[in-house]
Symmetry: C2
């Protein structure tokens, strides 16, 4: 178990659909790093219950609320709903999400008898669909490839890069700083939002590899020096 | 400079469009590992010249020929032509490629003023286009992400996994064994051919990252044990 870290001054993060494994895992790791987190759900009581059960008795800065209330409380809103709920959730929260930094972590994919397969999105990607639905928000795509299992097991180091796509440099910087609050994560700027479909689809390849090798794999880029990022 | 390795019994590899940097780099590394290589080109004389210039005076098992002759001489045929030449090249060689193991390494992408961007392929991917065009061949997708610069610089270790997609397990095994003839490469079975678009598009993300960080990055999967691959 990692030691509890004292809360630092930080932006508040909401995680919509945060009661699933990925949302819970990110909530745990962010809260452990002192980032205030509000888990959002359609069901406020369930969100509150999940938040309370994350690390009982440890006084982590995590709470639960209905998606709209979670959004209002936050500076950065992670969208972690299932793909089927992506469009209706964002449509219903357009007003609350206006002015916020929206981080789309959704992977459009499904499973059939042959394994995982990507779903093509008319807008190009889930993140570009979010941008189309949320003209008042800034949208960044990230956190697609972090194993929920590893996030939820604090004895397990997170051994992965977190890639970020977006068209607003300052927004990407905020997301990259947030990602690196998780021990073991290195954030990498992968370019423009029009490339978000590549990050989303990469998850499908990783799930296929996980199935083939009975693991939860991560991705590290080699020969990459963060200090050489272009200004 | 690596020491010259004695040739081993090996399948002969043709590289169509092998006069480009990626083709030359793979030819050099395969030949260095003792794999007989025929560089293919529309222009037989140019193919022969490129082969002769790869490692002058070192007696590597590499030669050059017209694409059709290179194909006839080979057991495994790598398709390394530019995306624009993919369909016409494969159409023109359908007969010669029949019965061969075809390894599609082509990345459908282009550059505009904002950087690299993927090209959507009607068949789903270049590899699936190859499968549609070549009913008599077995098609595997691989080698999309290996830096040509690193392949051509033998003082530089190749620090990357090589992912393989395909629907024929034995064919994938042959390609994975071939990939691992290159020092530093670990081959990973990424699943079915319908996922090949993910490997092809990942190259676009890597090129975007290369541009952003002034590097030639590679991809390593973490927490993956090749011995745990499902039979």
């Amino acid at each position: 178990m990692l030691r509890y870290r004292a809360p630092m001054t930080s932006e508040t993060v909401a995680i919509l659909g945060g009661t699933g494994p990925e949302g819970r895992g990110l909530a745990l790791r962010f809260a452990r790093a002192g980032v205030p987190v509000v888990i959002g759900s359609r069901d406020a009581a369930r969100a509150a219950q999940i938040a309370a059960e994350l690390a009982p008795g440890q006084d982590l800065p995590v709470s639960g609320a209905a998606n709209a209330d979670a959004t209002r409380a936050a500076d950065i809103v992670l969208v972690a709903v299932p793909w089927e709920a992506h469009e209706p959730t964002l449509r219903s929260l357009e007003a609350e999400l206006s002015g916020k930094l929206v981080v789309d972590i959704v992977n459009p994919l499904e499973f059939d008898e042959h394994g995982p397969v990507t779903i093509r999105v008319d807008e190009g990607s889930a993140a570009e669909q979010a941008r189309a639905l949320l003209p008042g928000s800034t949208v960044v795509a990230s956190f697609h490839h972090v194993s929920a299992k590893h996030l939820l097991d604090e004895t397990h180091p997170v051994d992965t890069d977190v890639l970020v796509c977006g068209d607003d440099r300052a927004a990407k910087d905020r997301v990259m700083a947030l990602a690196e609050r998780i021990p073991g994560v290195r954030a990498v700027d992968a370019g423009a939002l029009r490339l978000a479909h590549i990050l989303e689809d990469w998850t499908t390849a990783l799930l296929s590899i996980n199935r083939g090798y009975r693991t939860n794999t991560g991705t590290r880029l080699t020969e990459l020096d963060p200090a050489r990022r272009r200004p």
